[in-house]
């Protein structure tokens, strides 16, 4: 990776830059010619950001100045986002009575929260599931009530169930007839055996009630930090540009550019043990979105860990954040990051056990595939 800035921060790969430019300067879409759109729309779509792009462009550019074909694709992005939003609201509407009997709070996380709060961040966004965090003590009761109401677990294999319940912070995803979205029940935001131990009690205690609903959401600071660890600590970065954009928008909302907001964010990160993750996220946001206030945040978190390691990870992450068409191989990078993500999530002895079982299961799967008659 080449260093475009005065600092040695890695620049995003060239193939993804048209998307970043369009997102940060949507008004310039007026001047795009057809071959630019031809490149940009598939790029945005494969990054799951077509709806977000559409929202930003339509806010700034008069629709009639865009070619019909472009309008159709941007509309398609908004339509898909509207569908997901609708299905999220419908799921929440359906589970409200089921949850009522159990002590709360019922804290919506990530996409479902952004929708419930009607944040600008939610516009054009494509949530994949509904994340709900409830107190550990209520979890079993809620699980039973949901099952009585027709909800089922998607993963039924005994090993996965065991893994989720014993070691993870969430149950396996639940599905129900008539529901297009999955429900992910959490009792914390990170695995209890991981290297970062957030103050879960604090998350619950300060959660904010959503007016006119039985749900809560995390405080703005906690929402930032959750998004940060979700990307930096709980993922392998591959194709996660959308998640980084969420962080960028949550930071702008604080706003990060204000010194007091930064101080509060740092203090909170310290409370949850997330300073190093925050530093890494800040480096990435600076490189990819030039989020106002990031430069200062990077400096203010510089002593939280090895700067070299941080830049190293940022460099690797940068190579795989974008959609598939911008990644061009990077297989080794992906392997390294996947390894890192497992390492972060579990203590070494558990990691070895998990990897060994998964390895054995994969071998079994491959064997059965070979037995199937050759198709086509």
């Amino acid at each position: 990776m080449n260093a475009g800035h005065g600092s040695s921060l890695p620049r995003p790969p060239e193939p993804v830059r048209p998307l970043l430019a369009a997102l940060s300067e949507p008004a310039s879409a007026k001047q795009y010619d057809e071959s630019h759109w031809d490149r940009l729309i598939p790029l945005a779509r494969s990054a799951r950001l077509l709806g977000v792009l559409a929202h930003r462009v339509f806010e700034r550019v008069d629709r009639s100045s865009l070619p019909d074909r472009v309008q159709r694709h941007l509309d398609a992005g908004l339509i898909e986002a509207r569908f997901r939003r609708q299905k999220t609201l419908y799921l929440l509407h359906t589970i409200k009575p089921i949850l009522a009997a159990h002590p709360g709070p019922r804290v919506l996380l990530k996409g479902a929260a952004y929708i419930a709060q009607d944040l600008p961040l939610a516009h054009g966004r494509l949530p994949t599931d509904v994340d709900l965090m409830v107190p550990r003590a209520s979890l079993d009761g809620i699980e039973r009530s949901l099952q009585n109401a027709g909800w089922e677990f998607e993963k039924n294999e005994a090993y996965d169930q065991h893994y989720y319940r014993a070691w993870s912070h969430e149950l396996p995803p639940m599905i129900a007839a008539g529901q297009a979205m999955e429900l992910d029940l959490h009792h914390a935001i990170l695995p209890p055996v991981g290297r970062i131990r957030p103050d879960t009690a604090l998350l619950f205690a300060e959660a904010i009630h959503v007016q006119g609903s039985p749900f809560h959401v995390l405080t703005p600071l906690d929402q930032v930090l959750h998004a940060v660890v979700h990307l930096v600590h709980d993922s392998d970065f591959v194709g996660r540009l959308r998640d980084l954009l969420d962080i960028d928008m949550l930071l702008r909302r604080l706003p990060l550019s204000e010194r007091t907001s930064r101080a509060a964010l740092l203090e909170r990160a310290h409370r949850h043990g997330m300073e190093q993750s925050l530093h890494l996220a800040a480096v990435l946001c600076r490189c990819w979105f030039d989020t106002p206030g990031c430069q200062s945040l990077i400096a203010e978190t510089a002593d939280t860990g090895s700067a070299l390691y941080g830049r190293g990870i940022a460099r690797l992450a940068g190579r795989v954040l974008g959609p598939a068409s911008t990644r061009d191989g990077a297989t080794l990078t992906k392997l390294l990051l996947e390894g890192r993500s497992h390492w972060l999530r579990m203590p070494p002895w558990l990691l070895a056990y998990h990897a060994a079982s998964k390895g054995i299961r994969n071998l079994k799967l491959r064997a059965t595939k070979r037995e199937r008659p050759a198709e086509g």
Binding site: P67, A76, A324, S325, G376
Partner: protein, 325 residues
Amino acid sequence: MRIAEIPERLLLQRLSSEGVGVDFGAARSRIRTKLPACARLIQAVYGGYVAEDPSGMFDVTVDLRRVRGIRGHVRPQCELVCDGIVEQEPFPLDTSLPLLEWGTNFALATRLFCYLLLHAGVVERGGRAIVMPAMPGSGKSTLTAALTLRGFRLLSDEFGVVRLQDARLLRMLRPLALKNESIDVIRRFESTAVIGPRFPKTRKGTVAHLAPLPSHVDARHEVADPALVVFPRFEPGAGVVLEPVRKTRAFARLAVNSFNYQALGPEAFEALAQLVDESSCWQLRYSDLGGAVKALGELLDETRPTEEGMRAVPRSLRVASRPPE
């Protein structure tokens, strides 16, 4: 210039570099491939299409390429890539055309949320469309093919493209996929039909593609009014039987047989209701293909809107011909 008129070598050269554009009507696709066999197949089945300038904007770009790696030598395969993603299992290298067709259909069906996409064969005559939802065993493709060979013009054999604003039918003109017995049926029905090579042992059986007529390709930007919704069912020994279907039932069956009705919400509801409102809805059971084509033509004529805008109501049950010996 039509694709059929491009010298084979030049076509391959263009497919291998900037690609070749084709316009289906409601959408345009850019095709790229370096596979010579695939280029020849494209020429055979897309011959009537104009080769569009590949430098503009396209709704989808599909790359057909050889699968790399060890697999590629032991059992040569090809894959279709769209937006950097390989959406489906690879196909054997010698079935690149079915892969192109099914892969392109999939790419279109999952991206065009700007239209309501029914899963149906659609033809028209005089600007009035017959929408034939595709159920397994319906013989929809056979019937659609036969109609296009008897004076009806093809809109699509796979996608009923409904414009959301006004429920008009748009064209998504693609080569028509015939499967198994229907290949021979159509060959017998019309000896001048341009049918591409057979591909045995695909996951849908043997498949061959009927090239759209150049005059149908030329009409790709014409819009049609909904007139008939017909649920076909091939039934040995049935002859030709047409029975009316309640509009609420037709609505439900159309919605269920669609690619994206669920995702479009209120606009899809309104557009589909409008389409059904303007159409006369029927169930067709048939074993006599020629008889079915004739019956549909008569039905279309009988349901011509009168001056008051009311639909003439045909007889409630029709048996148009005895089953053939």
